[in-house]
């Protein structure tokens, strides 16, 4: 992840460990990185997925909404 220097690029990573002081360890494809949780309002637990931008979590991924979006893609054509 250190090589990813794109600015507006954000990646979804999974929380592996909460290390206190508003920090956590997140993993993505086997890359582990200490991330900052201070900008996040939601509570996060180990196993949650967060949207990560330049080392800071900016949103918690809503599984229900993610599923809903996938389901919406299947809706019968109304034309």
């Amino acid at each position: 992840m250190q090589n990813v220097l794109l600015m507006c690029l954000s990646v979804v990573a999974q929380i592996e460990e909460i290390i206190g002081d508003g920090e956590a360890v997140a993993t993505l494809n086997g890359v582990r990185k200490t991330i900052e949780l201070g900008l996040l309002e939601d509570d996060v637990n180990v196993g949650d997925w967060v949207l990560l931008h330049t080392g800071y979590a900016i949103s918690k991924v809503d599984y229900e909404q993610a599923r809903k979006m996938l389901d919406a893609m299947e809706l019968a054509d109304s034309l």
């Binding site: 600015m7 954000s10 900052e36 996040l40 309002e41 054509d77």
Partner: protein, 365 residues
Amino acid sequence: MKEYSDYLTELNEKTAALLTKITKYCKVLNRQINVMHVCGTHEATVSRAGIRSLLPKNLRIISGPGCPVCICPAEHITTAKELAKRGNIITTFGDMFKVPDTTLKSLSHLKAEGHDIRTVYSAMDAVKIAEKNPDKRVIWLGVGFETTAPMTAYELMKKPPSNFYVLADFRLVPPALDLLLSDPEHELTGIILPGHVTTVMGLKEYEEFPRRYGIPMTVAGFEAVEFLYALEVLLKMMVDGELGLKNSYTKVVRYEGNPKAKEVMKKVFKVVDAKWRGIGTVKQSGYDLNEDFREYNARNLIDFDISLEYDLPKGCRCGGVILGKVEPEECPHFLRRCTPETAIGPCMVSDEGTCRIRATFREVR
């Protein structure tokens, strides 16, 4: 238990279904449809997946001003270079490291000359460098859109060491969108909003746009299938004659955005008139540090005057490319003098620049 391949099959089927629907809607609309996105990462999604080659002929995807490095004014880079020459440590994202100012020299050239310029992944890394080098000034180049601005604000709220400075040139998406939509040279029929800018800012500030300009809008994610889904939602709105704003990236974007991120930005920044490279000054379109944080403002370290009349190299058409009026292929330098290895224009330097992305992922029709 579903296997990984099952998910892939599911996604493939959905992608095919989305493309069928998109084709149908375009047939029903039976006119030229111009959809603009305003995010460099969206352009990367579209180009990498070859989405344009799959779309009907009357649907055009236009890349708007979504690359933060490309629109960062040349003065910012010139200022950073001057500060580096005065013995300060410059910390920046990798993309900014490579962008030339009008002299065609970038911060990377200065590093080669022996100046202390360090690329970092995050604003917190820049603060750590300041903590480790108390006898030097450490300048963090604060550039980017609303997605990237909260991190700098957050670090400043935590009271970093007094040798930490920020050269803030953050830019805001809504004023740029206003400029594009009121431009008579554009015939835009739909807008795809940036998913991560809206993750931070929410949807409220865009609500007025669809009715003001008579154009539907939706927020899109960054996987190819998520982008196609947003495109389908947008076309459906056009077919139904619906002028509205829909969220097609609900897994991370909430209506209110990220309240904590918005709060820190409000405390640290003030909205200012700001220059966009290749475009000019746009009213109330940037963030600079407010008076409460003036001790951290790197502009206070500047005792020299930097104002540039021309901010692009001769012949470079980045200004038009950024505004979505010129395709990279129309620029005389594209893949001739200006290539990913020998970039002269900002749109070719940055990994999020339209020219760079088009050069990397050549289209097959």
